[in-house]
């Protein structure tokens, strides 16, 4: 009779023990992801992490572990709010586990310890990370350490409104040959301004709409500096090529002087700009590969290829045709439990798999991050991603991941704005930029 209670006790004890063992494998966590500059076409920047979480949970279940991951997503449509929120939250130790941001943030954020190297958590030699384009992995590194995983690639082409080009004398064959002519350097910035002027003179576009550049500060403007022979960084040191910057500033000052670009163009309402470039109100403009998604989805430009032709940014005097890739990267922030960071790293790794990343690439008209991605039918059958990858990506530069690049950039933009709006002459603007760079960055920048 005493056996039964003993047995009962033992059974209960065993059950308790078993449940605690099971509990020891169970892990529940919330992974927070924030993404900057993320509009309705870019949802997969965040959703990819959710898909990855589902996959990682299944993988854990096979290994007999119970893993429950809740993904909390937050998209910031702009960059200012996002960067303020992220840097201040990270200082207050309340940063999200994962951030999706421009690669140029890696420099300052890594130096201050706000982000941790992803190479401490993942095997870079294993798939899919070993399949990501080598140059993109370099862009996601700082000082020889891989801090992030590229989330997308893109480039920033020059767009031409085909009907206007035809109206000023180009035929279909000329237009088909234009990308190659730009690449060879036989169609230059000078030709671009001439064509823009012709469009205006013929009354195809209003004054100031011939060349319709980006209306806010952004990475695009470094392309013009490169186009006129400038170098951003050399052997780890920033470079300010005075003559090249002067030629780049002069280009915009000339565009305003010729009347093909508006003096007051900077700061115009975003919606107006998008509508005008997608409807032929502007003749020639520059933008990003992802613009395609907005033109087609939100701006109602149904026949993109019938109306628009895209090329590299043409060469200017002293430089060559180029484009700039500004990949966003997945970064891991510091201040979290090591195990949680490791799971966040695994999620990033899974989210970088071609089938998942291709959803973002095609939906948002960004470019793929790996060779395998271009072989997936969804990608290869999409004319935009295919052509943009082939024609632009091989010629793409990137901005340096240098902790002081932001300071350089601010000063450069200030000079460009001043010479564009006529607040300063080009010479005065370049001299002021030089003076401010010397005063601010000292020997951290080579001035030549």
């Amino acid at each position: 009779m005493t056996i039964l209670p003993t047995l009962k006790c033992m059974t209960v004890a065993a059950a308790i023990l078993a449940s605690t063992t099971a509990l020891s494998f169970a892990k529940e966590l919330t992974v927070t992801v924030w993404a900057g500059g993320t509009g309705p076409n870019d949802v997969y920047r965040l959703d990819a992490i959710e898909i990855a979480a589902e996959q990682l949970q299944r993988e854990a279940a096979i290994k007999g572990e119970e893993l429950k991951i809740k993904v909390e997503k937050k998209a910031y449509s702009g960059w200012e709010d996002f960067k303020q929120a992220m840097t201040l939250a990270a200082e207050a130790k309340t940063a999200p586990n994962i951030v999706v941001t421009g690669h140029e943030d890696i420099g300052p954020w890594a130096q201050s310890g706000l982000v941790v190297p992803i190479e401490d958590y993942v095997d870079l030699d294993s798939w899919p990370l070993n399949n990501i384009y080598e140059n993109l992995m370099d862009i996601a590194s700082f000082s020889g350490t891989v801090y992030g995983i590229p989330q997308d690639a893109e480039s920033r082409p020059m767009f031409f409104w085909k009907p206007h080009m035809k109206a000023i004398g180009y035929n279909d064959a000329d237009l088909d040959a234009l990308p190659q002519k730009v690449q060879d350097g036989s169609y230059t910035m000078k030709n671009l301004l001439e064509d823009a002027k012709k469009m205006q003179d013929k009354g195809l576009v209003q004054p100031g709409y011939g060349f319709y550049p980006r209306y806010t500060n952004g990475p695009d403007f470094w392309q013009f500096y490169t186009s006129f022979g400038g170098t951003m960084e050399q052997d780890g040191k920033l470079v300010f090529d005075k003559a090249a910057m002067q030629r780049a500033y002069q280009f915009f000052a000339d565009a305003v002087k010729d009347g093909v670009t508006k003096k007051n163009h900077i700061g115009m309402p975003a919606d107006q700009w998008w509508k005008e470039v997608a409807s032929g109100k502007a003749g020639i403009w520059h933008g990003g590969t992802w613009h395609y998604a907005r033109y087609v989805n939100q701006e109602g430009l149904k026949d993109f290829f019938g109306n628009v032709i895209f090329t590299l940014i043409p060469a200017g005097e002293g430089g060559k045709a180029n484009t700039l890739t500004h990949p966003l990267v997945y970064l891991l922030t510091s201040g979290h439990d090591k195990d949680d960071t490791e799971i966040a790293a695994q999620l990033i790794k899974i989210a970088s798999e071609p089938r998942i990343n291709v959803l973002h690439a095609v939906k948002s008209a960004h470019l793929g991050i790996s060779k395998s991605e271009t072989e997936i039918e969804l990608y290869s059958s999409d004319r935009w991603t295919r052509e943009a990858t082939e024609r632009l990506l091989p010629y793409a530069n990137a901005m340096p991941n240098n902790a002081d690049f932001g300071t350089y950039w601010n000063i450069m933009w200030k000079g460009l704005e001043a010479s564009w709006t006529g607040a300063k002459s080009v010479d005065a603007a370049v001299n002021d930029v030089e003076g401010e760079l010397k005063g601010t960055l000292g020997d951290k920048i080579i001035i030549r």
Binding site: W109, Q111, S112, G144, G236, N264, G267, M268, A403, T421
Partner: protein
């Protein structure tokens, strides 16, 4: 008496704490930050020592060999490391195989060492690979040390022969944190842009203050004073609309008005003028709009203060002056204005200080443009401290700019207190004590 004093202190304590936390502390912190070179890259809470190739660029000329050695990651499979691996309680075969097959091997990068580890028969998981490779790290490259002592200890441990001076030089070159400096103020003093921004600020404050916050507000108050009550109330309410409309929407309405496709362009188009962005067309236009936007918001406060002050003037004075045949202008000149001295001074003082610090309407309408034409001091401080495309916010310089503004504000406040003759206002009443 003692107990009533204590009670008084207790009663005032919440307010005192609030004042210290929300008024005094921000100013003190701004002052502290302004004497640092703090940015996102240096962090706020303090730095670390990191031997990254980038941070050693400055030392390349001074001690090239040391720099070369320091930046090269080196992974050596030695007995000490293998003992460390044994301590990790992994599969015993891992340490055994490392000892038997790889003892004495040296790898120049972590990746190469990890490739070897991944090829072991008992293939460890990625996490274990990282733990194992760490046991063999014999270099300081890319490591972060929270203190100088830790850095020096590691240098000694890995056998780097360096003099104390070299170590100090290395420490200062690889320190990632902020340091004390007065450079922000010399940058402010020497930059031609800052002079322009200061001029913009003075222009902005003067125009809005004189044209709208005082003169126009006074005009509105006098107009409504002579109106019948109902009409006056409606009129005043209308003028309050810009103040109570959310500023984002209010400024957006102005932007719609001034766009290329906005109301002004459409209207002017009827007369053959090409559409243009009137708001940003040139610096003069931008200034006009900035002053109008802020003026229409700011005029309402002065209007309310002046209106109530007007109501306090005994009606008998107006009746008497009318009997004497005084015109409206004479009433304004000899009755209203002399009695409005204090309200005018108050509005001037209050609005000067608030205009100096306000920038949200400018940020939303012109963002300081075109060019930097409408960039005022507080907006420039905001742009510097909290807005950088490349994620590197310059807290130190921004704080220094804010501090300049605080100092100007304090000086002006003291000046106004003197004009108001504050001592007389708060003098003890003669009938007590």
């Amino acid at each position: 008496m003692r107990s009533s004093r204590t009670l008084g202190l207790i009663m005032i304590a919440p307010a005192a704490i609030m004042i210290v936390l929300f008024f005094l502390m921000p100013v003190v912190l701004t002052a502290v930050f302004s004497f640092t070179n703090m940015t996102t890259a240096t962090g706020i809470s303090g730095g670390a020592y990191q031997i990254a190739p980038n941070s050693l660029i400055a030392l390349k000329d001074e001690m090239p060999e040391v720099v070369q050695q320091l930046t090269e990651p080196r992974y050596a499979i030695d007995e000490e490391g293998i003992k460390g691996v044994e301590g990790l309680a992994l599969e015993p075969g891992i340490a055994r195989e490392l000892r038997e097959k790889h003892l004495g091997e040296v790898f120049s990068s972590r990746r190469e060492a990890e490739r070897m580890i991944k090829d072991l028969t008992d293939r460890p998981s990625t996490r274990d690979v990282k733990q194992i490779s760490e046991q063999f790290n014999r270099s300081v490259a890319n490591l972060r040390f929270s203190s100088k002592e830790d850095l020096f200890a590691s240098l000694d441990k890995f056998g780097f022969k360096m003099t104390p001076e070299e170590k100090e030089g290395l420490a200062s070159a690889t320190y990632t944190g902020w340091s004390w400096t007065t450079e922000n103020f010399s940058r402010i003093a020497s930059s031609p842009d800052m002079a322009q921004i200061l001029f913009n600020t003075l222009l902005y404050v003067a125009l809005v203050l004189v044209l709208f916050n005082t003169c126009y507000a006074m005009l509105l108050a006098i107009w409504t004073h002579y109106m019948p009550n109902v009409q006056a109330t409606i009129f005043r309410s209308v003028w309050l609309l810009p103040r109570i409309t959310p500023v984002v929407i209010y400024v957006l309405m102005w932007k719609w008005l001034a766009w290329d496709t906005g109301f002004i362009s459409t209207f002017m188009g009827k007369f053959g003028y090409a559409p243009k962005n009137y708001l940003l067309d040139n610096a003069y236009n931008a200034w006009l709009f900035v002053v109008l936007i802020n003026g229409f918001i700011g005029a309402s406060m002065g209007m309310l203060v002046f209106s109530s002050a007007l109501k306090a003037i005994p009606k008998s004075q107006f009746f008497a002056s009318e009997v004497d045949g005084a015109s409206r202008w004479q009433q304004i000149r000899y009755i209203i204005l002399p009695q409005m001295r204090w309200p005018i001074l108050f509005v001037t003082c209050y609005q000067t200080l608030s205009l100096l610090a306000s920038f949200n309407e400018i940020l939303l309408s012109t963002r300081g443009g075109p060019g930097k034409a409408t960039e005022v001091w507080s907006l420039a401080a905001y742009h510097t401290a909290l807005n950088n495309y490349a994620g590197n916010l310059e807290y130190g310089l921004g704080a220094a700019m804010a501090l300049v503004l605080v100092i100007i504000g304090i000086i002006l406040s003291l000046a106004y207190l003197r004009v108001f003759n504050y001592a007389t206002l708060v003098a003890r009443p003669l009938i007590e004590d």
